[in-house]
Symmetry: C2
Subunit: 261 residues, 2 copies
Amino acid sequence: MHEMFTRSILPAIREKTGETLTRVTKINTFGMGESILGEKIRDLMTRGANPSVGTTVHDGIVSVRIYATGSPAQTAADTDRIRQVVQERLGSLIFGEDEATIEAATAELLKTRRFTISTAESCTGGLLAKLLTDIAGSSAYFMEGWVTYANAAKQDELGISSELIAAHGAVSELVAKAMAEGARRRSETDFGLATTGVAGPDGGSPEKPVGTVWIALAYPGGTLAQRFTFPGDRSAIRMRASQMALAMLRWHILGAKPPTL
Amino acid sequence: MHEMFTRSILPAIREKTGETLTRVTKINTFGMGESILGEKIRDLMTRGANPSVGTTVHDGIVSVRIYATGSPAQTAADTDRIRQVVQERLGSLIFGEDEATIEAATAELLKTRRFTISTAESCTGGLLAKLLTDIAGSSAYFMEGWVTYANAAKQDELGISSELIAAHGAVSELVAKAMAEGARRRSETDFGLATTGVAGPDGGSPEKPVGTVWIALAYPGGTLAQRFTFPGDRSAIRMRASQMALAMLRWHILGAKPPTL
């Protein structure tokens, strides 16, 4: 209702009355820090310009806000012009506008392409599955998830050998890949998505400090994995790792080069 | 720091200065609606009384707030007196004070008693496991979780027969119990905790409307299950179901009669 009103009804009313309006558009991105992202669109962010452009960050999501002031027709044209430049510069970092979330964008992509997915989580403890099932109709793409917190669970459920865990540690590229592959194989889904890391506050080491997370994606034809070091407390690390897993899946489906890798 | 300051430092300063203070205490409960709970302590909530008592509700948690005004010694004594009455009336509905959460209270109980747990989730989609692993050191009690969203997953992972699902439906007492028992058996934990329900917005029927959730707990010696109908949207239903699962576990461990059952 809110979106309908601001996007359609309000502009229509103002068009009839000839009133000047400020059209606000929020372009949401994930995968690049606010300051580095800001550098890429620095020239758009001139103080006092119309449209004016700025960035905000909330819960890991960096949003580019466009404020265009003028007649309905003029603000629509100005917004489109800036939107196009932002899209050219930020590409696959963008997952949606206004109220879009990364989980809804990923879900939409899975639904449209008729892909199925399973998850294998250690440090995110169920949060990744929770995000994937937050969306109504998620049973179309989400089949099954494992929270293999104990090493015994990783072995029993996902077929990961105790030797592999002993040799590399539970937080490692090979264990992350084996988790993703185990989930994909057992559930017979198109994708298996896995996380294993140190959410803290305890459990960190010089080699694997708190915030270290391996994320792996098993897909038809291969498995990719990437190591991250997320900042923040336990809750922030778990959320960033889950969001990044969704982003990696999205970039893979779109055939986009992951911008942070 | 905030708690240290308000609980210890501020009262100590005021004791020295002889100042009058208002001591605020929040007693957190789960498992009974605000209005029915209010009836049980109606006589404490007289307007203008000191201490004054009121209730607030946030995210399913009903809190009794005690506001005592006077000298440090007097407010401490007054608060204790009211707290005792509230405890007598509300018993096992209370899980903690001030910033306590139901997940932290449950985790503390599992840790102290050295119990282990596994989860099997359908409608909550990983949220129950997420809540149980929100707490640092959760690997001491949380071993393993399944998000068996598809019926095939319930069969393959938890050993639930397709005949049982066909005869009773995935949202049923027997399937909830079989999920809890399957999780407990496979992971060899003390407890298996399961949810299966209709989170909506689609999938409801006259017999099982949106909000219908079966929660089951498998424990050493048996399995209990209870049907609930939670109000609200998809997000609220999933949160209430997860909180209720934790509350049922807590009541069972404490040997308390579940107040809502």
